[in-house]
């Protein structure tokens, strides 16, 4: 009898080991990496923000800030009021535009000859402190949501309705051309992202019914459920501001970072970057030579109008005439610092932004 090599139990043992290995792999294998979602697209760990006011007095006044009111439904009272004014305003009417109010819907209507075009306005972007722009939404063939930016915007500073910034003076082609400009999915998402605290998107579809408009507490401070549950003991280190530049970057998510602008656009006096406050601020000597951040001068928890944001109190923190070691105004001025060093700049549209590139503004500044 030839000597055989083998063990009687090899087969079942081998199969058992294989199945155990596969089973262990299936059960224990690392979960495929899921990229952490955009903070604005997740409510995991979030809490009802009405609880914030129980401990934080800042929450009392926050609801009146521009951030809190930066997105609302088009049939919101403030929006409706503005739209009624638009219906009576000259410029939109001359362009053939009208606003109709039907049940709880707001319709923008364009009439030219026998042709009538209508779209339902669904959202009002902007707190109204600077401007309000209305939008509609339309699905594409993949189901993703495209945004229609309405043709006209309300500009608070001059109290007028004018063509929305960035839109051409002539109507675009197509049915919606006279009513506004269509943005594709990614652009629609970008618009909503900066005006919401929660933006539910699934497969490109914005679930409008569940959008939480406004930039509110947890948009900046992160999910706070655990913080509330621990009665304030727990503070998520991942959401803690790390340093001066990180503080700027928090605001710059929406107000734009300098390094994300074309380098050739960063020159003093460029009106195209004035509306992006962090871009100019980080160029400033004031920023570079101090621990200055956005919140040095602005309390985001209080309305701007309540803060004397144009007063000199911000400046004399470092440029106090009574302090010997401080550098003060060479022109001998004691007040009105903003007027010279952070003037307001008017855009092409009837809106002004304060130039945050703090400097001695030259009369002959031009593009290099």
């Amino acid at each position: 009898m030839p000597k055989r090599n083998g063990r009687p139990l090899m087969a079942p043992l081998g199969l058992l080991v294989t199945l155990l290995t596969l089973g262990s792999y299936a059960a224990l294998r690392p979960i495929p990496t899921r990229v952490p979602p955009d903070a604005v697209q997740s409510t995991v760990g979030m809490v009802d923000e009405s609880t914030c006011a129980e401990c934080h007095s800042e929450a009392d006044s926050f609801a009146q800030t521009g951030h809190a009111r930066t997105l609302r439904p088009a049939n919101d009272p403030l929006s409706l009021d503005l739209l009624r004014q638009m219906a009576a305003a000259d410029k939109p009417r001359q362009a053939g535009l009208d606003i109709e109010f039907r049940d709880d819907k707001v319709l923008a209507v364009h009439r030219a000859g026998d042709r009538e075009r209508k779209v339902e306005l669904k959202w009002c972007f902007g707190s109204g402190e600077h401007a309000c722009t209305w939008t509609s939404t339309l699905p594409d063939s993949l189901g993703a949501i495209d945004l229609l930016e309405f043709r006209y915007t309300w500009f608070h500073g001059e109290g007028v309705f004018d063509i929305s910034p960035g839109q051409p003076q002539q109507d675009s082609a197509g049915y919606f051309g006279p009513l506004g400009v269509l943005f594709d999915g990614p652009k629609a998402r970008r618009c909503f992202s900066c005006h919401t605290t929660y933006l539910p998107i699934r497969d490109g579809v914005i679930e409008e019914a569940h959008v939480r408009g406004g930039v509110t507490c947890q948009r900046c401070h992160g999910p706070r459920a655990r913080h509330v549950a621990s009665e304030g003991e727990f503070r998520d280190p991942r959401w803690k501001v790390q340093d001066q530049m990180d503080a700027i970057h928090r605001c710059a998510q929406c107000h734009r970072r300098a390094e994300e602008q074309p380098p050739e656009s960063i020159w003093p006096g460029n009106p195209d970057i004035v509306r992006f406050q962090p871009v100019g601020l980080v160029q400033s000597a004031c920023f570079q030579n101090s621990a200055m951040t956005c919140t040095t001068c602005h309390d985001p928890h209080r309305p701007l109008a309540d803060q004397n944001s144009r007063g000199r109190w911000q400046c004399i923190q470092c440029h106090d005439p009574d302090a010997d070691h401080h550098v003060t105004c060479a022109a001998g001025e004691m007040d009105g610092c903003i007027d010279c060093h952070m003037p307001s700049v008017r855009m092409e549209a009837p809106i002004e932004f304060t130039d945050h590139w703090i400097r001695v503004v030259g009369a002959t500044e031009r593009k290099p």
Partner: protein
């Protein structure tokens, strides 16, 4: 009596059968380039830390890593024939044939040489096992040849180990097989103690040498573990689909061939159970094979070879070669199965003769026109790595990261995150839920990619990146869509060429110069369907419809349906009016397709498209003045846009034959698949119907014009559109008709 078949004769027939299997697996693309041995790694992010086998460094070898498929098939068939010869001693030739054809349909992933070395290692292992089973021929008459060969087994193991490390990155498998053989050899082999002591020392020396070399050569240790390290690497399925397990259905890696392979493996286990007693060697090899085939789709091919290696005891209980069963004992079995293989191949050639004969002339993949890129290529699907490793591309288009997960796994997380940001056009920094910063802009500043290769099936990403992003399409084929950056002037020039070509395909007109080269590769009919879906995602449905082959296969009909939906959306956005015709065509095809067995993802895609149309068109319908259309007509249109064509037909049938309802009837009778005849039919109905209101006539003519573009008849299309505008200057379709006319 038929003389016993010679071994060489049997091998030749199995070689023929294997060759037929390999050719039938890639029938249209026998001139394709396929990697036969490993390519030297030239990726950017971990340059210098990846092990490339010495073979890949030899200059004359590096330029010939890729052979034409038919050359590969001839050589690979040698390996398959060898395997088949071994298997045919143990199992029915039909099983062997099925196995060979299954093996032919798996991607070797550049491991042909590695597979051959693996099989060599298996043969050595089986030889070492076999030596312990043969009876000594007679005592005192000298050692039998087989036992005598045992003194060469250890040197053979060492030689094959060195060979494996020199020629393949899958040498870990080879070493594992040899290690298993040495282990069982050590445990089970008879022999005097000095000999056993030598073997033990030799085996330990072998292990120690391997360990030292691993430590000295960077990356070699990681590559050794490659056949197992997929277990703890977990990239997102979309980034590396083939690394998923067979049960991960969302990656769609499992095929019918996997089913056959699993049956084969089950048969091998049953055979092992029947062996008396089974060998540790077989159990070990079969375990490894099962683990690889089931746990990692990437290793289907190598796992299949391993599975064939566990073919159990070569000799039956009485020491005789086990006779294979045969249904036709008078025929040479090998020639029978070679004949069947040849017949199968010929059948495929005959039924696809046009495509086969012209295959070499049809370009399948788009090669970047740019002569070189200033930066690396970023793949968003790492299974496409082999496409970029052909010698002529390798030097000029280095990859950022490739499929060598043993080295690049630490980068996969970041690559997945950046890929997702890029697809969603999230360039600027934003905070993620975990407090980290997202946005691809900063990462791209470091990586400086100049070409991005997106999977051609990711239609949502294609659409999202096509419009406003500063990354522009510079090439399209069935597998990938290439994007170049607008900051590269050469990419901009190529992107303009691409857009000229695509807009010509959308609305053909006289064009001075059009160049498909480097812009568009259509491939075989099944490839063309995928390209058509890319064009639909780019919002070019007419181009997609024109490219689709004139068949009614399921894939073609799905592509056609999606294009009709896109066309309906375009008409809605331009005119503010529902395209009844395209809504009916899309709805009818959707109804038909839903009766067939569809993948869940396809069903979901069609459902979403139907819902999106219903929602978009519904929004517009709701706002239209009631004076424009009757309530009944509006309800019928709502049924159509919701895809309820049965309900719409019933509603129409109940109506009087007024012009509006006659209009609906004509359109409801539309055959979705025949644009040319449909436009003629509608035109004929118009001619016959004298009292149709101008608005409806104009709408009919608009549809005819669009159908004429679809079928490629530009002159007819112009006539229809002009007639449309003449009949009703205020038709809601005038903007779109004007647009089409301006493009022609």
């Amino acid at each position: 009596m038929i003389a016993p078949q010679s071994r060489w004769g049997e091998f030749v027939w199995w070689w023929v059968a294997s060759l037929c299997g390999l050719l039938s697996a890639n029938l249209f693309w026998i001139a394709d380039r396929i990697a036969v041995w490993p390519v030297r790694d030239s990726s950017v992010l971990e340059a210098g830390h990846i092990y490339s086998p010495p073979l890949a460094w030899l200059p004359f070898v590096a330029d010939s890593t890729h052979w034409h498929y038919w050359q590969f098939a001839i050589v690979a068939a040698l390996l398959y024939g060898w395997i088949a010869c071994r298997l045919s001693t143990r199992m029915h030739p039909a099983v062997v044939f099925a196995y060979i054809w299954t093996l032919s349909h798996f991607n070797t992933r550049g491991a042909l040489l590695g597979g051959a070395v693996l099989w060599l290692a298996i043969e050595i292992g089986n030889a070492m096992e076999k030596g312990g089973e043969l009876p000594r021929q007679s005592e005192g008459k000298g050692e039998p040849v087989v036992t005598g060969l045992h003194r060469f087994m250890l040197p053979a193991c060492v030689a094959v180990s060195v060979l494996a490390a020199a020629v393949t990155i899958e040498y870990g498998l080879v070493l594992a097989v040899l290690g298993l053989a040495l282990l069982t050899w050590r445990i089970d082999k008879p022999g005097p103690s000095p000999l056993r002591g030598q073997r033990t020392f030799g085996a330990l020396a072998w292990v120690a040498t391997i360990a030292v070399v691993m430590l000295l050569v960077p990356g070699m240790g990681a590559t050794l573990l490659r056949p197992w390290s997929w277990m703890w690497v977990s990239p997102p399925p979309s980034l590396f689909p083939s690394l998923a397990a067979l049960w991960d259905l969302e990656t769609r890696q499992i095929t019918a061939w996997h089913g056959i392979l699993l049956l084969f493996i089950m048969g091998q286990w049953m055979r092992l159970f029947r062996d008396n007693p089974p060998r540790l060697w077989d159990a070990g090899v079969l375990s490894m094979a099962t683990l690889l085939v089931v746990g990692c789709c990437y290793y289907s091919w190598l796992g299949a070879i391993l599975a064939a290696g566990a073919h159990g005891r070569r000799y039956g209980a009485n020491g005789n070669r086990e006779a294979g069963r045969t249904l036709l004992p008078r025929l040479n079995q090998g020639s029978l199965w070679a004949g069947i293989g040849l017949g199968g191949l010929l059948y495929q050639v005959v039924t696809n003769s046009t495509t086969v004969l012209s295959a070499d002339l049809i370009q399948r993949r788009v090669t970047p026109v740019l002569s070189a890129t200033p930066g690396p290529v970023m793949l968003l699907n790492l299974d496409h790595t082999p496409r970029w490793q052909v010698p002529e591309l390798l030097a000029h288009f280095p990859l950022l990261v490739n499929d060598r997960w043993e080295a690049y796994a630490p980068w996969y997380d970041q690559l997945a995150a950046v890929s997702q940001d890029w697809k969603e056009w999230k360039r600027e920094a934003y905070l993620r839920h975990d407090g980290s910063w997202g946005g691809y802009g900063a990462v791209f500043e470091r990586w400086q990619p100049s070409l991005i290769a997106l999977d051609a099936q990711d239609e949502q990403a294609i659409r999202q990146v096509t419009l406003d992003s500063n990354w522009k399409i510079v090439g399209v084929d069935a597998e990938e869509v290439l994007f170049g950056t607008a900051s590269d002037p050469r990419a901009v020039a190529q992107a303009l060429r691409c857009m000229s070509l695509f807009s010509f395909l959308e609305i053909p007109r006289s064009a001075a110069e059009l160049d498909f080269e480097g812009s568009l590769a259509l491939g075989a009919p099944q490839d063309t369907v995928r390209v058509a879906n890319v064009l639909t995602a780019m919002r070019m449905p007419l181009a997609a419809l024109r490219l689709l082959p004139d068949t009614s296969s399921r894939e073609v009909q799905v592509a056609r349906t999606l294009a009709y939906f896109e066309l309906a959306h375009r008409t809605l956005r331009y005119s503010g009016h529902v395209s009844i015709l395209d809504s009916i065509r899309a709805g009818r095809l959707t109804q038909e397709l839903m009766q067939e067995p569809l993948l869940p993802s396809t069903k979901d895609r069609l459902d979403r498209a139907q819902m999106a149309l219903a929602q978009a068109a519904g929004q517009v319908l709701e706002l239209q003045s009631a004076a424009e259309t009757s309530r009944g007509e509006q309800d019928t249109v709502r049924l159509i846009i919701n895809g309820d064509l049965t309900g719409a037909q019933q509603a129409i049938d109940q109506q009087e034959p007024t012009p509006s309802w006659r209009f609906f009837r004509v359109l409801m009778g539309a055959n979705p698949n025949d644009a040319a005849n449909l436009s003629r039919k509608i035109a004929a109905e118009l001619t016959a119907d004298g009292d149709m209101p101008a608005a409806l006539v104009a709408e009919f003519l608009f549809y005819c014009g669009q159908l004429a573009i679809e079928s490629g008849d530009l002159a007819e299309s112009r006539n229809f559109f002009r007639e449309c505008l003449a009949r009703d200057p205020f038709t809601p379709f005038r903007d779109l008709a004007d647009f089409y006319l301006s493009q022609m």
